[in-house]
């Protein structure tokens, strides 16, 4: 086993976030344990704790799955089933794993984990092939617009490393993914338990010509996933020092959602529609010549115009919609009360807050069959539907498929203050 050392030189590393999904027992915990183990991201005390538990339970070998506190263990202990975040690094990349449990009831978790993911890793058991849940996982990844998809066909050791088995599953999944407009897809035959095709290519699969899983994770090209075309800078906070040394300073702080901003650019501020020019883009480390996602910067403009949190800086020729009537896919996340037509909620969209009333539910989507039920009148926990809503103040919005930052919003219950839904804008009117 060639293991990758933890990097000591951080400058050349970038960051990849990925979500994992699989049905119970497909080997997700084993795979994550394996990735952490093989990249030396585990510590002896963690390993010892797992060895002790393994022994106590009478396991024949150290169960790597225990490292990540698998779903079964959580159920036994009655812990809330939730997204867990894990970290590992190789000399090329730092990885953040959003480990999401796979059951149908946990659509909420999968949607949450996928919302920030650059890549999603879906596991299937080679003996079982694609199951309903694999299709659902693929659908949710496409709904959340995760740019890269990896299907790991696991437990290849239990099907004699059969090329036929692998290809049948790969073909079936590829055909399904094409229907979903799933973007970049890679399929890898692995054994999480034995480590085949995880760090390096396995001799057991001479017919497989693709990369090992880790090689793919390290090299998949994510820089171009960012939208560098549409300038969108939601104003987060206005910096106005109350100081005798710095006077007349007014800077608009925020994180670039998309596009590239440069000093000298002509910009438009929404919702007012005023135009101005960028004087400078500043950071605590000095001015920069360009700002692009995901940089947090402070933008200064030539004109003294009234700009506050929730406004958005864009280009006069390329602006988002300023809209109060929104069509969105909403995933409902509240177990206590369903989404109902006529109900009012608070909305958080970029740095902007609004209230909204649900005008209509066009259909509820069956996430397994993709069947649309137009007779539905409400959305319950873990259900997804297409919803029409009207907001009290305009949102400065793009379609989610074009922009994951200016196209996504959360729905908040005004009584309990809980986050009860996730919305992806389909259309603005």
């Amino acid at each position: 086993m060639t293991a990758t050392a933890i990097p000591t030189e951080a400058r050349s590393m970038d960051l990849l976030r990925f979500a994992t999904a699989g049905s119970v027992d497909d080997g997700k915990s084993t795979l994550i344990g394996r990735l952490l183990y093989d990249t030396k991201s585990l510590f002896t005390d963690q390993l010892e704790a797992v060895e002790a538990v393994s022994q106590a339970r009478g396991d024949e070998y150290t169960n790597l799955a225990l490292l990540t506190d698998g779903l079964r263990a959580e159920r036994e202990q009655g812990i809330t089933i939730d997204v867990a975040y894990r970290y590992f690094a190789t000399p090329r990349r730092k990885f953040i794993i959003a480990d999401t449990p796979g059951h149908t009831q946990y659509t909420r978790n999968m949607v949450t984990g996928a919302s920030t993911a650059d890549l999603a890793l879906i596991l299937v058991d080679a003996r079982k092939g694609l199951v309903e849940q694999s299709r659902r996982h693929a659908f949710l990844c496409s709904l959340l617009r995760v740019p890269h998809l990896v299907l790991c066909v696991n437990k290849m050791d239990l099907v004699d490393w059969s090329q036929d088995v692998f290809e049948r599953i790969a073909d079936e999944f590829t055909a399904f993914a094409a229907k979903l407009e799933a973007p970049d897809l890679t399929v890898v035959p692995i054994s999480a338990l034995r480590g085949d095709n995880i760090v390096s290519r396995s001799e057991n699969t001479p017919w497989y010509e693709g990369p090992s899983l880790l090689h793919h994770l390290e090299h998949v090209h994510i820089a171009s996933d960012r939208n560098l075309v549409d300038v969108r800078f939601p104003v987060q906070y206005v910096i106005r020092p109350q100081s005798t040394t710095v006077t007349d300073y007014r800077g608009y702080a925020g994180q670039v959602a998309s596009g590239v901003l440069k000093p000298g650019d002509e910009v438009m501020v929404l919702p007012s529609g005023f135009t101005s020019r960028i004087v400078a883009i500043e950071t605590a480390d000095g001015p920069v010549e360009e700002a692009f996602p995901p940089m947090s910067v402070t933008v200064r403009l030539t004109d003294e115009i009234d700009i506050s949190r929730g406004d958005l800086i864009c280009r006069p020729t390329n602006a988002p919609a300023v809209a109060q009537d929104i069509e969105a896919m909403i995933c409902w996340m509240d177990e206590t009360r369903p989404l109902r037509v006529g109900a009012k909620y608070a909305i958080k969209h970029t740095t902007r807050s609004a209230r909204a009333v649900i005008r209509g539910l066009r259909y509820r989507l069956d996430v397994n069959s993709l069947h649309r039920d137009e007779s539905a009148t409400e959305l319950n926990l873990n259900e997804i539907g297409r919803v029409r809503l009207r907001t009290t103040v305009p949102l400065l919005a793009d379609e989610y498929r074009r922009n994951r930052t200016t196209g996504g919003f959360i729905v908040i219950d005004e009584m309990t203050n809980r986050t009860v839904g996730a919305g992806m804008i389909v259309e603005t009117g």
Binding site: D82, Y85, I239, S243, T419
Partner: protein
């Protein structure tokens, strides 16, 4: 001016941008934030990020230290110096004072981890803080892997695992009713190594005990404890000099040192990269009680 190389963003830049975003979000949406500043390395990094978030303005919130009374002198000096340099307002929530007033009582084992929670909550109530920045990271401990960036606490300051809000995209929900509060962890996605790389990159000064130095220690339960006013040899324990450093700086009565020759930030990074034992496992006597120790303390309102 810094030149972008094909719009590359290093992992440290990405982490920094995310943390700065989180800190600004809190100031924009919550009424009375406070940053927990202990003089430990994570809180030092957090303070630096807060400074970056608001320049050229000052940090628009005070800092708070929950003082157990069991301090490393070097850390307390560092705290005061940093607060003065940056012109910050420091609130001290003092465990010794709370012992005196009867708010809390010393626990049987003399450890002050549990009793600092009511002291913290008392200060939160007194100053009506509704947002508390903490330096905890998700990689520290299994129980933290599911912690939110915005972690909701009820009006008793308690963490209810069943009542946490899903966090999607970068849309954080800080809404709460009066009396409730939010703990915010801007370093959620950082690892110990990221923190050290950042300390090196930003040339942040740290309390000297983070670097290798010689100290009188005793060995107890396989860990090295400094002999000081809080820890003295028991039974057959004999003090001896050793070259050590601290990986975490907690309560001086239960934080252990590790053997180390790493006396510069570069050497510490090398050491951390090669170390095969977690920060907490190596140095926190208080976490060794049980696997579930952290989980229990969190429910009660501990960080």
């Amino acid at each position: 001016m810094r030149q972008p190389a094909a719009y590359r963003v290093s992992h440290l830049d990405a982490l920094e941008a995310e943390s700065v975003f989180v800190i600004r979000e809190v100031v924009a949406e919550l009424e009375r934030p406070v940053l927990l500043f202990s003089g430990g390395k994570d809180s030092i990094v957090m303070l630096r990020l807060a400074e970056k978030a608001f320049t050229p303005a000052r940090i628009p919130f005070p800092v708070m230290h929950v003082d157990t009374g069991h301090n490393f002198a070097e850390v307390l000096d560092y705290r005061d110096q940093r607060v003065a340099e940056m012109g910050l307002h420091l609130v001290v929530a003092s465990v010794p004072e709370a012992l005196e007033s009867g708010l809390v009582q010393e626990s049987a084992d003399g450890m002050r981890n549990r009793i600092q929670t009511p002291v913290l909550l008392d200060a939160v109530e007194k100053y009506r803080f509704d947002a508390l920045f903490g330096g905890a990271r998700r990689d520290e401990e299994k129980a933290r892997a599911k912690e939110r960036v915005f972690s909701f606490r009820d009006d008793f300051g308690q963490w209810d695992p069943k009542n946490q809000r899903p966090e999607l995209w970068s849309l954080y929900n800080g809404r709460h009713h009066p009396g409730e509060s939010i703990r915010i962890f801007p370093l959620s996605n950082w690892t110990e190594l990221d923190v050290w790389h950042y300390i090196a990159r930003e040339k942040l000064s740290l309390p000297s005990i983070y670097y290798a130095h010689e100290r009188e220690v005793i060995e107890r339960d396989g860990m090295l404890y400094a002999v000081n006013e809080f820890i003295s040899p028991r039974g057959t324990e004999t003090p001896f000099p050793a070259q050590v450093r601290y990986r975490t700086v907690g309560d001086a009565s239960c934080t252990a040192a590790v053997r180390s020759d790493a006396d510069t930030v570069e050497k510490v990074i090398e050491e951390v990269a090669a170390t095969r034992i977690t920060e907490r496992g190596a140095t926190r006597g208080d976490d060794r009680v049980s696997e579930a120790a952290m989980e229990d303390r969190k429910r009660e309102g501990y960080f």
